[in-house]
Structures are given as C-alpha cells and as structure tokens.
Amino acid sequence: MAKVAAGLQYSEEHEWVAREDGNVVSVGISAVATDALGDIVYVDLPEVGSTVTAGETCGEVESTKSVSDLYSPVTGEVTELNTTAVDDPAVINSDPYGAGWLFKVAAVSDGPLLSAEEYAAKNGGEL
C-alpha cells in the first residue's frame, strides 16, 4: 500500500504541498502517483520565474511505461527547481516526499487541497 506522508496537503491529482518559510511551498508527487507510474525517467518542470496556476498543468512526469501531466496544486511564482530530481528522476520513486521534491512556489493562493488523512482514505494509502 502506498505511503502517504503525514503533515502534508494533497491535491486530487496526487501532488503534495509542504509549507516552507512565509508563503513559499514545496511541491512533489505522492507515492500513490509514483507507484502508479512506475520508474520515473524524465521530469519536465516549470521554469523559475514562471507563474503556475492551481489546477492547471505545469509540466509532465514520464516513466518507462507512461507519461502523466503535472498539475500545480497552488497559484504563484516558481522560485526554485529540484535539479537533483531533474538529473536523476529515480529519486522521485525512492523518496517522493523528501529528496524527490520537484519545485517551490511563492504561493498567492491554494487550489482545493486534502489533508493527509483525507487523501489516504480516498486513495487507499497508508499514513
């Protein structure tokens, strides 16, 4: 059963949101998503300085078996990318809630987000 990290918020599209300093959030994809995708080999992320909009696609995640759009869970300006994950996407599978984070946003608003408990219940995940 896919692990759902406690203390994070989640979108319906399987992105997670972690609150950093001030209004900055880091964004990644959940283990529910990485399990479904399989081994990730390529990620296409929004550029630093670009604006992402909650609920809209902002990139894509490609695995050996499939490709999936990446949706932004928040609206705001992208401030940082995880170049480690871009260079070695396997880290997204091995540590989706930690070293496999994808990008940071100075968020001005959030899309609809679920608590870890709600997300786990909805997706058969394990807290």
């Binding site: 390529y42 490609e62 050996t64």
Partner: protein, 372 residues
Amino acid sequence: MSKHTALYGTHEALGASFTDFGGWQMPLKYTSELAEHHAVRQAAGLFDLSHMGEVWVTGPDAGAFLDYALVGKLSAVVDGKAKYSLICNPDGGIIDDLITYRFGAEKYLVVPNAGNAPTVAAELAARAEGFDVVVEDASDTTSLIAVQGPNAEAILLKITGDSQHDLVTGLKYYAFTEVTVAGHDVILARTGYTGEDGFELFLPNGEAAALWASITEAGAGLGLIPCGLACRDSLRLEAGMPLYGNELSLEGNPFEAGFGQVVALSKEGDFVGKEALAALKAAGAGTTSGRRLVGLKGLGRRAARGHYPVLKDGAVIGEVTSGQPSPTLGYPVALAYVDVEHSAIGTALEADLRGKAEPFEVVALPFYKRAK
C-alpha cells in the same frame, strides 16, 4: 474474469503488482521494472509466461497441415528445431505470430500469444478438415517459465544432471530438447523475447511452482530476480521484436511489418492467405507501396508512445505502435509504421508528443543487440 496461471500464488507471495494481459492476471513487476530490465541484460530474469498458448498438432499429415495453415514451410523444419511463423487470414491479415517446435514428422507444438490462443486453436482446428491430424489445445494444462539473461545457462546447469549438461550447453538458438531440470521433465527451448541468451521451459501446471522455486534458489548467487511483463515489453522493444496488437494485426500484413521472408510463397501447394499475400508482394507492399515498420530513435529526452502521430515537415506520415525510453540505451526508442518513402535508415522525422513535435530518426533494428 481474468484467468490465473498456476504460479499466481507464487507471484502474490512475492508481492507482484498485477496487470490484465490477454485475459490473464499477470505480474507487471515485482519491485522496479527498470531493475528487472537491467537484471535480464546483465545477469538473469525469471518470467512466468504461462499465459502463452500451447497447441499440439499430431498425425501423419502434421507437416503438410501446418504448411497449409501457416505462412511458413514448417514441414521443412528439422526435428528439435523451432521456427517463427505467422497465421494469416485469407486476406493476408495477421491473426497471430507464433513459434512452432518440431518434435518429429508427425508431432509439432505451436505456441501462440496469450490473447490469441483460443482463436488460433479454433482456427487450426477449422483448417484441419481434410488432413489426417489431431489438433489439441493444451494451453490450460501447460505452464511456461522463461530464464533469460547472460547467466541463464549457468543457472540451469546447477539444477540439471551432469549427464545432461551437454544437451543444455550444446543447445542452439531456436532449438529445443527434453531434459530433467530440478527433477522435472521439461521441454527446454533456447528461445526468448528479450534479445538476450535464454531458455523457455514447458511443463505441466502441477509442477510449475516447484520448478520456479528451484530456479529461484539456483539463481540466487547469479543475480536472478523474478521479472514481470513491464520489463518484458521494454526488453522486446529494444530487441526490435514485434508485439501482436501493437505492430501486428488483422489490418496489417507481413510485408509492411518486415516479415516478408517468413512468407513461403514458393512452398508446394496452397496455404491460407497465399493469393492475397502474393498480390501484396507483387504490389510492393512494405517496399515500394503502403507503409513500413521502422525503428525510431528519439533525439530529445521525451519518448513517443503508442498511437502518437509521426510527422515529416509537419504532415502526418505514420503512427507509433510502441515506444518508451530505452533503459539500456538511455534514449527514447519507438517502433512505427511510416509511408515507405520515409522509411529509409537515417531519415529525419518528428513525432507529435502531445502537441509538440520532437525530432526522431529512422534507425536500423534491433535497437539493442547483445555482444556475442
């Protein structure tokens, strides 16, 4: 309701993720499809292929019957050898691709794909009218286990009696023999769908779990891991091998798929599809007319997937049938049907990757060839 192989419980105990394939619940992967892929290229992988069909053809007319029912000349196969062939409909459409093993002039084993096995068995039975043969579908009682990879032979030798080692080491590609492996009498064939050296072992369902366990134990120190259908697909794609339903279909024909050489138009007598196939060949299908299956190498990082359009200067000239990032080669690879005028090696094309054209180049198949 999907069928289960005799090894379903074994896969469950190993924690496999399952997928429906050809009407069967089969292991997609056990841990990571990339790790499984690399294990087969570098060491060894163990596969349950019991979803594949097994149809026995026996009787005095067995060879003549198969010459009529399939496009190849199976009567000319030497005892103990296997041959890749196709079964076509009267229009030349491909019902399935299959491997036929010749045990003797009056005994052959035909192995069709999982999803097509009932169709092929029924078609063979129907085509047997007038021939002195018995067609027996043993798919539901026969298991098939594959050991693939550079260490496959060493693993099998560990669980084969000394007196039979020569039978294993001397076995040529596309040949088979009958040996005892870990106490089980099996049909051992040096065939596979991975582009590596390897073996396929046929045996009764009731013995499959015990043999699986014995091979697992023998392979423990030689890098063998259980492997699912996800890596089987990426391995066969790198090896440039077609998958029925992707590259081969009733709507296609052998010539455009690059299998003109398996159609024995010159063999004696009639065979199903002969007239249509002869006409297709005369019309230059796959060479001067229509479309041709080609290998595409992606020049960027994004992979083309099945059904994506293939473009030349913005115009659609073909369609991808299979594609993904190649784990061994590190760049995207794809098989695609393109108009014959754009099928030459080195032709620069594009694939429409969800609205964005990315550069691809026609390359020779297979994408990956093992060092001998």
